[in-house]
Amino acid sequence: MSETIVAILLLLGGVLSLLAGVGILRLPDVFTRMHAATKVGTLGSGFIMAGAAVFFGTSDVIIRAVLIVFFLLLTAPIGAHMIGRAALRLGITPWGEDKAHAQPDAPTEENRDLLGQNAPRDPGPGT
């Protein structure tokens, strides 16, 4: 019985992780990709941890699994916030938005290397 639960949890976790990967691949811009990574990815790992907790069934493993998920939930949104903020400041326009509404903070021209366009020449030290 518990083996079946474990199997379901692990498969579910695996599938969710894969879906997060697909999301990162398919979704159109960094913001939407973050939705996939932060939520779906964390959920996938969470299911696998749940599976592990059931598999072992001992209190120390359960506590560890809970803590892992807790830590992921605590940190993932903060990470996402940091990425999103950086993306906005880099001037990345969210997919489906018009530029005016997005109010990018910085001119895009100078940040091409960060945006994956042709990098500007070495500006020299001390900049």
């Binding site: 830590f71 940190t75 916030h81």
Partner: protein, 139 residues
């Protein structure tokens, strides 16, 4: 870096990381962990602190200069090794004191080896913080 969210998160995460690092240090003799891992985790706590709040705050929170912590750690590790001299053993011979009954498993082990691991912890902790802080401040 003026991220309110990050600062707020750091308040808990930094503490958790420190706590967790000491946990990893102390259990290291029996389970994955130890001075290296503990020190690395502990330092990430302060690295996060420095990223979120700036190195000035982080330094004042640390109170001691990280280099001194690291160097003191080296001294502690060495003293742990020198402890053996008191018992007529060779350098770095582990000295153990079990408070409680070892047979029943209900005891607290005190040892020079643990002191050594604490030295390792402090070294790694202080060194990485010194590195990261200096780098943060310089750039």
């Amino acid at each position: 870096m003026k991220s309110i969210i990050l600062r707020a998160g750091t308040r808990y995460l930094a503490g958790l990381l420190l706590l967790f690092s000491i946990y990893m240090l102390l259990r290291g003799h029996n389970e994955p962990g130890g001075g290296f891992i503990g020190g690395l985790i502990g330092s990430t706590g302060f690295v996060l602190y420095a990223i979120a709040c700036g190195t000035k705050d982080a330094r004042s929170a640390l109170r001691l200069s990280p280099q001194n912590i690291a160097m003191a750690g080296l001294g502690i590790a060495l003293l742990a090794g020198l402890m053996a001299a008191l018992f007529g053993d060779a350098l770095f011979t582990g000295q153990w004191l079990f408070i409680g009954d070892r047979e029943s498993g209900d005891y607290i082990p005190l040892s020079s080896v643990l002191v050594f691991d604490i030295g390792v912890y402090l070294v790694v902790f202080g060194s990485i913080i010194a590195l990261v802080f200096a780098m943060e401040e310089e750039i």
